[in-house]
Amino acid sequence: MTAGGERAIRVRRPGALTTIQDCGRPGYAHLGVPRSGALDAPAHHRANRLAGNPPGAAVLETTLTGAAVTAECDVTAAVTGAAATVTVDGQPTAPDAAIRLRAGQVLDIGPARPGVRCYVAFSGGLAVPRVLGSASADLLSGLGPARLAAGDVLPLGPAGDHGPAAGQAAPGETAPGPAGAARAGTALAGCRLGELAAATPGEAGTGTGQHEPAALLIHPGPRLDWLAEPGLAALAGSRWTVSPHSNRVALRLAGEPVRRRRGELASEGLVTGGIQVPPDGQLVLFLADHPTTGGYPVVAVLDPASLPACAQARPGTIVSFRLA
């Protein structure tokens, strides 16, 4: 317990990859800064509502194997997103509901089955230093707080006043220190789902438990005309497998190669949900930590309503596309 009963949580088990996320850093793409932020935005917002926070407050985003924290104070928590067994001092809790934690109790989020990412909100929100207005860890460029490590103590904002809303500078706002920067640097290895699963005993990584392929809604992209067959009809009828190389930057999809025009395109701005076709005809579907510009043609763009399904798609998941 912290001296003076400060509001905080302590990390017992960081899991394969747990980061702090809020609504990210819109407005800086022209400087090369990725949007970042929670991958499953509706789950992020719901967790905050259950915990009594404004929807954009900073939360934990776990990956595949969950995480465990000790409450350093009385606090209301909520866990949303992927299905997972959530316990308090070993006792299962009701899903999708506020969880009252007493100081000293352990909140444990088990492996995601099915799905990938859980969102863990605490009343008052995580009050970590913001970089460019956001507490989000950006795994592409290394901005924001480091991924969680065992023993980390994360301060919480004051409960009841909704905590610091995303986009507002918190008092004492600073850049990440040398230790944080060093650990954020290790995140640049990519944090691919396959590697995270392989590094975790008993975690197969694949085995999605799905019955039907998830149908993702797509719109025409800016370089639709780079497809060999006109229109999105061919893409809309195809099936793809989520690759273990997927991460917060992009969902990588493997399947029958898409035929496209040859040639080179000058790099241009990318949107979240953009579906790029590199020369090998496999697909790269950009998620929150995507680079701000890219040089392969974006032939289609995912409807925002389908982004949560991508955030929760395990390696091996079969997806198909449907015209929005």
């Binding site: 819109p26 793409a29 022209h30 090369g32 241009e268 680079p291």
Partner: protein, 205 residues
């Protein structure tokens, strides 16, 4: 000006030259400063395009863009930033050969050119500084270096770039600077922004 939809809430505006990007981006930023299209989240210039992300009414936005009479090549008006550069890069000789000058003249040739930041990308604060058009374009390295130190000044195509942090790099490195290109604790975090003019000052090898 061509409009390419980029999903339900964005449009990619395509033009024919970097000069047109520059002119249109300057106009868009001036209009935004005056309250135009307040819902736009991001405006991202690139070599031949400008992405407008967060568009509520694409038809109305495109009508506005088409109605503007954008000056084709407005005079540079951005702030001038001097970059103190040591022209001591490992690719100095390769660039000198492409330019047909002795290696010792690369600093003078590069420093005499007019440079302006066209756009940023690749990593936070990495500027694509246009200025090598008109005969001083440079071919990239055959194989990228796995790691280029921060502050490296590289040239590629019609651009000069400065690496904000250690990263892989395929451009020809002609020098180094101690300028801090990116500091999230600074406002603005990026030393150079699109539209800024740059003067490279030779401070010796």
């Amino acid at each position: 000006m061509r409009f390419r939809p980029a999903g339900p809430a964005a449009v990619l505006v395509e033009v024919d030259s970097l000069a047109q990007v520059r002119a249109l981006y300057a106009r868009i930023e001036a209009e935004r400063a005056a309250g135009w299209a307040a819902g736009l989240a991001d405006v991202v210039p690139a070599a031949r395009t400008i992405l407008l992300d967060g568009v509520a009414d694409r038809a109305a936005l495109q009508r506005d863009l088409q109605s503007w009479e954008v000056e084709p090549d407005p005079p540079a008006s951005g702030a001038v930033t001097e970059i103190a550069c040591r022209y001591d890069g490992p690719d100095l000789a390769a660039v000198a050969a492409q330019w047909g000058v002795p290696p010792g003249d690369v600093a003078a040739v590069h420093g005499a050119l007019e440079h302006e930041v066209a756009f940023c990308g690749f990593s936070p604060g990495f500027p694509y500084i246009a200025g090598l058009g008109g005969g001083r374009e440079v071919a990239r390295r055959d194989s990228p270096r796995p790691a280029v130190p921060p502050g490296s000044v590289g040239v590629g195509g019609e651009y000069t770039g400065i690496y904000p942090r250690a990263s892989p790099g395929g451009w020809q490195i002609i020098g180094h600077t101690d300028a801090v290109m990116w500091d999230p604790a600074r406002e603005p975090a990026a030393l150079l922004q699109p539209g800024d003019r740059v003067r490279f000052i030779d401070v010796g090898p």
